[in-house]
Amino acid sequence: MSTNDLYDVPDGQTLVVLGTGIEIVRRRKHEPIHIDGLDQQQLASRTGKKSGSKFLPGTRLDQIVSYTEAILTENNAALNTSGTYTQTFADHVGIASGVRVRTITVLFDGRYAHAFPVAP
Protein backbone atom coordinates (compact mmCIF):
# COMPACT_ATOMS: atom_id res chain seq x y z
CA MET A 1 0.00 0.00 0.00
CA SER A 2 1.46 3.38 -0.97
CA THR A 3 1.79 6.25 1.47
CA ASN A 4 -1.16 8.06 -0.10
CA ASP A 5 -3.32 4.95 0.01
CA LEU A 6 -2.87 4.75 3.78
CA TYR A 7 -4.96 7.91 4.06
CA ASP A 8 -7.87 6.11 2.37
CA VAL A 9 -8.09 3.62 5.25
CA PRO A 10 -11.05 4.39 7.54
CA ASP A 11 -10.44 5.21 11.17
CA GLY A 12 -9.86 2.03 13.16
CA GLN A 13 -9.20 -0.18 10.15
CA THR A 14 -5.98 -1.99 9.30
CA LEU A 15 -3.16 0.00 7.71
CA VAL A 16 -0.57 -2.77 7.54
CA VAL A 17 -0.39 -6.46 8.40
CA LEU A 18 3.10 -7.33 9.62
CA GLY A 19 4.85 -10.61 8.89
CA THR A 20 3.98 -11.69 12.41
CA GLY A 21 0.29 -11.32 11.62
CA ILE A 22 -0.03 -8.26 13.86
CA GLU A 23 -2.27 -5.58 12.33
CA ILE A 24 -1.36 -1.91 12.72
CA VAL A 25 -4.59 0.07 12.72
CA ARG A 26 -5.33 3.68 11.94
CA ARG A 27 -6.32 5.94 14.83
CA ARG A 28 -7.13 9.36 13.44
CA LYS A 29 -7.48 10.96 16.85
CA HIS A 30 -3.70 10.75 17.30
CA GLU A 31 -2.81 12.12 13.87
CA PRO A 32 -1.34 15.63 13.55
CA ILE A 33 -3.57 18.68 13.76
CA HIS A 34 -3.01 22.32 12.83
CA ILE A 35 -1.74 24.02 15.95
CA ASP A 36 -0.93 27.44 14.54
CA GLY A 37 -2.98 30.06 16.33
CA LEU A 38 -3.95 27.84 19.26
CA ASP A 39 -3.22 29.25 22.69
CA GLN A 40 -1.79 26.96 25.37
CA GLN A 41 -5.19 26.17 26.86
CA GLN A 42 -6.63 25.21 23.47
CA LEU A 43 -3.55 23.12 22.68
CA ALA A 44 -3.82 21.32 26.02
CA SER A 45 -7.49 20.59 25.38
CA ARG A 46 -7.00 19.33 21.84
CA THR A 47 -4.12 17.06 22.81
CA GLY A 48 -5.52 15.89 26.16
CA LYS A 49 -6.93 12.51 27.11
CA LYS A 50 -10.42 13.27 25.77
CA SER A 51 -9.25 14.47 22.36
CA GLY A 52 -6.21 12.23 22.18
CA SER A 53 -2.53 13.08 22.15
CA LYS A 54 -1.21 14.01 18.71
CA PHE A 55 1.85 13.27 16.66
CA LEU A 56 3.75 16.42 15.71
CA PRO A 57 2.48 18.42 12.73
CA GLY A 58 4.06 17.07 9.59
CA THR A 59 4.22 13.48 10.81
CA ARG A 60 2.96 11.26 7.99
CA LEU A 61 0.87 8.16 8.39
CA ASP A 62 3.64 5.94 7.02
CA GLN A 63 5.96 7.37 9.69
CA ILE A 64 3.42 6.48 12.39
CA VAL A 65 3.30 2.96 10.94
CA SER A 66 7.11 2.81 11.03
CA TYR A 67 7.21 3.96 14.66
CA THR A 68 4.63 1.33 15.56
CA GLU A 69 6.35 -1.49 13.72
CA ALA A 70 9.76 -0.57 15.18
CA ILE A 71 8.45 -0.57 18.75
CA LEU A 72 6.62 -3.87 18.24
CA THR A 73 9.75 -5.43 16.76
CA GLU A 74 11.99 -4.03 19.50
CA ASN A 75 9.74 -5.69 22.08
CA ASN A 76 9.38 -9.00 20.19
CA ALA A 77 5.62 -8.58 20.13
CA ALA A 78 3.90 -11.80 19.10
CA LEU A 79 0.39 -12.54 17.90
CA ASN A 80 -2.05 -13.47 20.70
CA THR A 81 0.21 -12.00 23.40
CA SER A 82 -1.01 -8.54 24.35
CA GLY A 83 1.29 -5.86 25.67
CA THR A 84 1.89 -2.16 26.17
CA TYR A 85 5.25 -0.94 24.91
CA THR A 86 6.90 2.43 25.35
CA GLN A 87 9.90 3.98 23.65
CA THR A 88 11.51 7.37 24.18
CA PHE A 89 13.22 9.14 21.29
CA ALA A 90 15.88 11.83 21.18
CA ASP A 91 13.61 14.37 19.51
CA HIS A 92 10.06 15.43 20.17
CA VAL A 93 7.51 13.17 18.46
CA GLY A 94 4.18 14.54 19.61
CA ILE A 95 2.09 16.67 21.91
CA ALA A 96 0.22 15.34 24.94
CA SER A 97 -1.94 17.62 27.10
CA GLY A 98 -0.29 20.63 25.51
CA VAL A 99 3.28 19.49 26.16
CA ARG A 100 5.76 18.37 23.52
CA VAL A 101 6.87 14.82 24.29
CA ARG A 102 9.52 12.38 23.11
CA THR A 103 7.79 9.14 24.10
CA ILE A 104 5.48 6.85 22.13
CA THR A 105 3.32 4.10 23.58
CA VAL A 106 2.10 1.18 21.48
CA LEU A 107 -1.01 -0.60 22.69
CA PHE A 108 -1.23 -4.15 21.39
CA ASP A 109 -4.24 -6.32 22.21
CA GLY A 110 -2.78 -9.50 20.77
CA ARG A 111 -3.92 -8.81 17.23
CA TYR A 112 -4.33 -5.04 16.67
CA ALA A 113 -1.80 -2.35 17.53
CA HIS A 114 -1.73 1.43 17.45
CA ALA A 115 0.67 4.10 18.65
CA PHE A 116 0.28 7.47 20.34
CA PRO A 117 2.55 10.03 21.99
CA VAL A 118 2.62 10.16 25.78
CA ALA A 119 4.29 12.10 28.53
CA PRO A 120 7.21 10.00 29.87
Binding site: P10, D11, G12, Q13, R27, R28, K29, K49, K50, S51, G52, S53, S82, T84, A96, T105, L107, D109, G110, R111, Y112, F116, V118
Partner: protein
Protein backbone atom coordinates in the same frame (compact mmCIF):
# COMPACT_ATOMS: atom_id res chain seq x y z
CA UNK B 1 -32.53 3.94 29.61
CA UNK B 2 -36.15 3.28 30.50
CA UNK B 3 -37.03 6.90 31.21
CA UNK B 4 -38.13 9.21 28.44
CA UNK B 5 -35.51 11.68 27.39
CA UNK B 6 -36.44 15.21 28.38
CA UNK B 7 -34.41 18.39 28.36
CA UNK B 8 -33.48 17.70 31.98
CA UNK B 9 -32.53 14.05 31.54
CA UNK B 10 -30.63 14.91 28.36
CA UNK B 11 -28.66 17.53 30.26
CA UNK B 12 -27.89 15.04 33.03
CA UNK B 13 -26.92 12.35 30.53
CA UNK B 14 -24.72 14.73 28.60
CA UNK B 15 -22.98 15.87 31.78
CA UNK B 16 -22.39 12.24 32.83
CA UNK B 17 -21.06 11.39 29.40
CA UNK B 18 -18.56 14.25 29.56
CA UNK B 19 -16.71 12.73 32.50
CA UNK B 20 -14.04 10.05 32.08
CA UNK B 21 -13.84 7.11 31.73
CA UNK B 22 -14.59 7.00 28.05
CA UNK B 23 -14.45 4.09 25.68
CA UNK B 24 -11.47 4.24 23.33
CA UNK B 25 -11.86 1.02 21.38
CA UNK B 26 -13.62 -2.33 21.29
CA UNK B 27 -12.49 -5.19 19.09
CA UNK B 28 -14.67 -8.21 18.47
CA UNK B 29 -13.47 -11.67 17.49
CA UNK B 30 -16.42 -13.19 15.64
CA UNK B 31 -19.16 -12.82 18.27
CA UNK B 32 -16.86 -12.52 21.28
CA UNK B 33 -15.39 -9.37 22.80
CA UNK B 34 -11.66 -9.64 22.17
CA UNK B 35 -10.41 -6.40 23.74
CA UNK B 36 -11.72 -3.22 25.35
CA UNK B 37 -9.61 -0.10 25.69
CA UNK B 38 -10.73 2.82 27.83
CA UNK B 39 -9.53 6.31 28.60
CA UNK B 40 -9.53 6.03 32.40
CA UNK B 41 -10.57 8.72 34.82
CA UNK B 42 -7.63 10.52 36.38
CA UNK B 43 -8.35 9.16 39.86
CA UNK B 44 -8.00 5.59 38.54
CA UNK B 45 -5.01 6.07 36.25
CA UNK B 46 -2.98 8.86 34.72
CA UNK B 47 -2.36 6.62 31.71
CA UNK B 48 -3.96 7.83 28.50
CA UNK B 49 -5.43 4.37 27.87
CA UNK B 50 -5.89 1.00 29.54
CA UNK B 51 -6.64 -2.23 27.67
CA UNK B 52 -8.46 -5.36 28.81
CA UNK B 53 -8.24 -8.50 26.71
CA UNK B 54 -10.47 -11.53 27.11
CA UNK B 55 -9.15 -15.00 26.40
CA UNK B 56 -12.04 -17.07 27.71
CA UNK B 57 -15.68 -16.71 28.55
CA UNK B 58 -16.21 -14.52 31.60
CA UNK B 59 -19.15 -12.48 32.77
CA UNK B 60 -17.79 -9.10 31.69
CA UNK B 61 -17.36 -9.75 27.96
CA UNK B 62 -20.80 -11.34 27.89
CA UNK B 63 -22.33 -8.24 29.47
CA UNK B 64 -20.41 -6.04 27.04
CA UNK B 65 -21.62 -8.20 24.14
CA UNK B 66 -25.17 -7.61 25.34
CA UNK B 67 -24.65 -3.84 25.32
CA UNK B 68 -23.03 -4.09 21.88
CA UNK B 69 -26.15 -5.87 20.65
CA UNK B 70 -28.27 -3.04 22.03
CA UNK B 71 -26.08 -0.50 20.23
CA UNK B 72 -26.42 -2.52 17.02
CA UNK B 73 -30.20 -2.32 17.37
CA UNK B 74 -30.19 1.38 18.28
CA UNK B 75 -28.16 2.22 15.18
CA UNK B 76 -30.33 0.01 12.96
CA UNK B 77 -27.43 -2.14 11.80
CA UNK B 78 -28.29 -5.41 10.08
CA UNK B 79 -24.79 -6.78 10.64
CA UNK B 80 -22.99 -7.20 13.97
CA UNK B 81 -20.43 -4.62 15.06
CA UNK B 82 -16.83 -5.77 14.69
CA UNK B 83 -15.14 -2.71 16.18
CA UNK B 84 -15.88 0.63 17.82
CA UNK B 85 -13.23 3.32 17.64
CA UNK B 86 -13.09 6.66 19.45
CA UNK B 87 -12.37 9.56 17.13
CA UNK B 88 -11.80 12.16 19.82
CA UNK B 89 -14.35 14.18 21.74
CA UNK B 90 -17.80 12.64 21.44
CA UNK B 91 -17.13 11.05 18.07
CA UNK B 92 -17.07 7.32 17.41
CA UNK B 93 -16.84 5.06 14.36
CA UNK B 94 -18.66 1.73 14.26
CA UNK B 95 -17.47 -1.00 11.91
CA UNK B 96 -19.82 -3.76 10.84
CA UNK B 97 -19.16 -7.31 9.71
CA UNK B 98 -20.11 -6.46 6.12
CA UNK B 99 -17.35 -3.84 5.91
CA UNK B 100 -19.68 -0.86 6.28
CA UNK B 101 -18.96 1.78 8.88
CA UNK B 102 -20.81 4.65 10.51
CA UNK B 103 -19.30 7.62 12.29
CA UNK B 104 -21.32 9.54 14.85
CA UNK B 105 -22.49 12.19 15.32
CA UNK B 106 -24.16 12.27 11.93
CA UNK B 107 -27.36 13.67 10.50
CA UNK B 108 -28.33 10.08 9.67
CA UNK B 109 -29.29 9.39 13.29
CA UNK B 110 -31.38 11.41 15.72
CA UNK B 111 -29.96 13.29 18.67
CA UNK B 112 -31.92 10.92 20.88
CA UNK B 113 -30.27 7.84 19.35
CA UNK B 114 -26.88 9.53 19.50
CA UNK B 115 -27.25 10.20 23.21
CA UNK B 116 -28.53 6.68 23.89
CA UNK B 117 -25.49 5.21 22.13
CA UNK B 118 -23.10 7.52 24.00
CA UNK B 119 -24.70 6.43 27.24
CA UNK B 120 -24.28 2.75 26.34
CA UNK B 121 -20.63 3.35 25.45
CA UNK B 122 -20.24 5.13 28.76
CA UNK B 123 -21.69 2.11 30.54
CA UNK B 124 -19.17 -0.17 28.82
CA UNK B 125 -16.29 2.11 29.83
CA UNK B 126 -17.49 2.17 33.45
CA UNK B 127 -17.72 -1.64 33.53
CA UNK B 128 -14.23 -1.98 32.07
CA UNK B 129 -12.79 0.57 34.48
CA UNK B 130 -14.37 -1.26 37.42
CA UNK B 131 -12.71 -4.44 36.19
CA UNK B 132 -9.34 -2.66 36.12
CA UNK B 133 -9.83 -1.57 39.71
CA UNK B 134 -10.67 -5.14 40.73
CA UNK B 135 -7.69 -6.53 38.81
CA UNK B 136 -5.35 -4.00 40.42
CA UNK B 137 -6.23 -5.11 43.95
Amino acid sequence: MDKELTAETMEALTAACMELPWLDEIRMNVDHVHAVTIIPSDDVSTEEKLTLTFAGETALPQRISGLMQTITTELGFEQPITAIVHGGGAGYTFHQANGCSLSIPTDDISAKTYLRVLFLLKEISLMAQAQFIVNAK
